[in-house]
């Protein structure tokens, strides 16, 4: 059975030097969670350009007239910074997923003695998947 643990006020980030792997996992999980919900609102806002497109609105992209939805998405995807942010989004999502699975195990009391190692494994696996995805995300875009 899990037991409660007085972790003190982790929100006091001045204590960061005292943090253990579990506390870092907890902080990263919160940080990535905030990023993801922020992205979800942004994502729906961008996709809402479909309403304008269905209404027949057009825009110019690279000298061609296209519908507002296609123009908005292709215009954003043509920016190098957006591609870099997409790689960042993947990193954030992968860490949140892997650490979420780890949290589920911790909550169920499975592998508690290995929870530090599983945090480091989550970080390494996130790094590997992120690096491996870079060529796919940067296809067809210049600086």
């Amino acid at each position: 059975m899990s037991q409660s643990y007085n972790r003190g006020l982790i929100e006091d980030f001045g204590r960061w030097k005292e943090f253990s792997a579990g506390m870092w996992a907890w902080i990263f999980h919160k940080f990535t969670g905030w990023m993801l919900i922020g992205y979800l609102f942004t994502h729906i806002a961008v996709l809402s350009s479909a309403i304008a497109a269905a209404d027949g609105q057009t825009m110019m992209v690279a000298g061609e007239s296209v519908d507002a939805y296609t123009g908005t998405i292709q215009g954003l995807e043509g920016l190098f910074i957006v591609r870099v942010l997409e790689v960042g989004l993947l990193a954030v999502a992968v860490f949140h997923i892997l650490n979420g699975l780890r949290l589920l195990m911790v909550d169920l009391g499975i592998g508690l003695e290995a929870q530090d190692k599983s945090f480091y494994a989550s970080l390494i696996l996130t790094g590997v998947i992120t690096v491996a995805s870079v060529p796919t995300f940067l296809t067809g875009v210049g600086l």
Partner: protein, 121 residues
């Protein structure tokens, strides 16, 4: 020693729903990412392609359920993070109300966008 860092009350409804939505999101988010970045590419997305995908009832329902679970998981996560931060009393109620309204607005807007994409509006 079993150290718990979770923001949730173990065994609570919020805890359980957060886990159930997480399990669903892992699968659908992986599908979403693979489809729009590895099978087809985000840079090649067109309105016509999106309309074709969204007018399939199965895809439409999956995406709307994806939106509802993601909004719940995110809003519930943010609420619990703030409660964990020490939010209490009237502030806690106000924050819950604001987050609930924001979440419902997100679901309403997203569903409307999906209906427009499917050509059913």
């Amino acid at each position: 020693m079993a150290e718990r860092y979770s923001s949730f009350t173990p065994g609570g409804t919020g805890w359980l729903l957060q886990r159930i939505t997480a399990a669903f999101l892992v699968v659908v988010l992986a599908f979403h990412f693979f489809q729009l970045h590895f099978i087809s590419h985000a840079a090649e997305v067109t309105f016509a392609g999106t309309q074709a995908r969204m007018s399939e009832v199965g895809y439409f329902l999956t995406m709307v359920l994806f939106l509802v679970t993601a909004a719940f998981h995110g809003i519930n996560g943010v609420y619990n993070a703030l409660v964990n931060q020490g939010l209490d009393g009237i502030q806690k109620k106000v924050v819950l109300a604001v987050l609930t309204i924001a979440g419902l607005a997100l679901i309403a807007q997203g569903t409307y966008v999906a209906v427009v994409m499917a050509g059913w509006a």
